[in-house]
Subunit: 236 residues, 2 copies
């Protein structure tokens, strides 16, 4: 596999970074090629703005998605965006490594979505979900959080179900651009657990990585379940 790990944690010695390092070692040991975008180490700029395009289609009024399409065709995207786009097009497995902040990814990773997931090559018109520009590839979240499992177990839990919280990332982002999204790997209660428990999490994560090919992706919409106006078809 060609694996892109996008990692976002402000502490280079965090447990989340240890998970990322273990994943790099494990995947390389089995023969995969692994690229890492360590967003903090790269000082990645997460703010989508007009300066992302050298030469705008419309210099007077910014419609970001339109400028993405134009910038992709005219090859005028900012170099830091283009470098990430090329890694994304190269990979066939995308691993997002992050601590959950406020029910989602840290801002520096949200900005990687905002700036790198280009309108044009990755989605546009009716090209989304199973018709998205990155279809045929797989993605997976590997996240750390402070909560215990029963706090995000189902809709009766204090924060509701984890898969619901992850809808914007897993469905409206990764699946939207075409990825088959594998079930997330979740390291629970990390700030509060013993070193022994952390070692057990790393063992579980290693086993998960070794068993990737046996995992069924999460179920998300297919466009043939909807009509031309994107209304659900009967029985859908």
């Amino acid at each position: 596999m060609k694996v892109l790990i996008v990692h976002a944690h402000p502490e280079p010695r965090s447990f989340c970074a240890a998970m990322k390092d273990m994943a790099v070692a494990e995947l390389r040991a089995r023969g995969d090629t692994v690229e890492v975008s360590d967003l903090y180490a790269m000082h990645f700029d997460p703010v989508a703005r007009g300066e992302d395009f050298r030469g705008r289609e419309n210099p007077d009024y910014l419609v970001y998605a339109m400028e993405q399409r134009h910038g992709w065709q005219a090859r005028t995207l900012a170099p830091d965006i283009l470098a990430e786009v090329e890694k994304l097009q190269w990979c066939d497995f995308l691993l997002l490594s992050f601590p959950m902040f406020w029910g989602g990814v840290p801002a520096i990773m949200k900005g990687w979505f905002d700036r790198v997931l280009l309108s044009g090559p990755f989605y546009g018109g009716k090209r989304f979900y199973d018709r998205g520009g990155l279809s045929g590839r797989r993605a997976m979240l590997a996240m750390t959080l402070g909560a215990r499992p029963h706090m995000l177990e189902d809709e009766r839990s204090v924060h509701g179900a984890l898969d619901t919280a992850l809808r914007p990332v897993q469905r409206m982002t990764l699946a939207y651009v075409g990825f088959a999204v594998l079930p997330p790997f979740v390291a629970w209660h990390v700030p509060y657990v013993t070193d022994e428990a952390r070692r057990a999490i790393l063992d579980d994560y290693r086993a998960r990585l070794r068993g990737l090919d046996a995992l069924a992706p999460l179920r998300f919409p297919r466009l043939d379940e909807f009509d031309d106006r994107l209304n659900p078809l009967a029985g859908g």
Copy 2:
């Protein structure tokens, strides 16, 4: 009311900015005091990192939430964070004005959550949801998006229900720190509609702002519905 509008759009002449400007004018005309944090205009830095604290409790290993608590007590938070914290503590109504990017807020606003919603004054231990540090205040989203209503109407819709997509923001962020969250104001299909339709949206938004006091907040968990371990109580 003391109103804080946090606005995040990369185009100063966008329809989203026009909504924000109308809200400022309308709220001031009725006698409210309004502060605006225009995150793009302020060049707000959305990346949570160790440099956010002048003098760390633990300079060798960053636990961001712990440093927030320490930085708040020791008054060593970065000035740009402290300025936003003070506006937040001052306000009794928080309005978040943004275009939906990837099922959530733009990265620059996500980073406002990550950096400004401090562990310590705003949450910590069992101080969250109705016991959060900002309880007694109200918040509301005012968002623009490209989709039509039937694409986010309910769980059968192509992107599922809008309120589900908004869970990380409305429940796991705003409600978590104590806000009573009013139903969102949503400007649909904005890039594709006529000027006349946009004027109608502004009229609807004005009416919404005039009727705020009649709106019931969304229903989110109360801690008395859960036991000490945060398991749901029977009947909850």
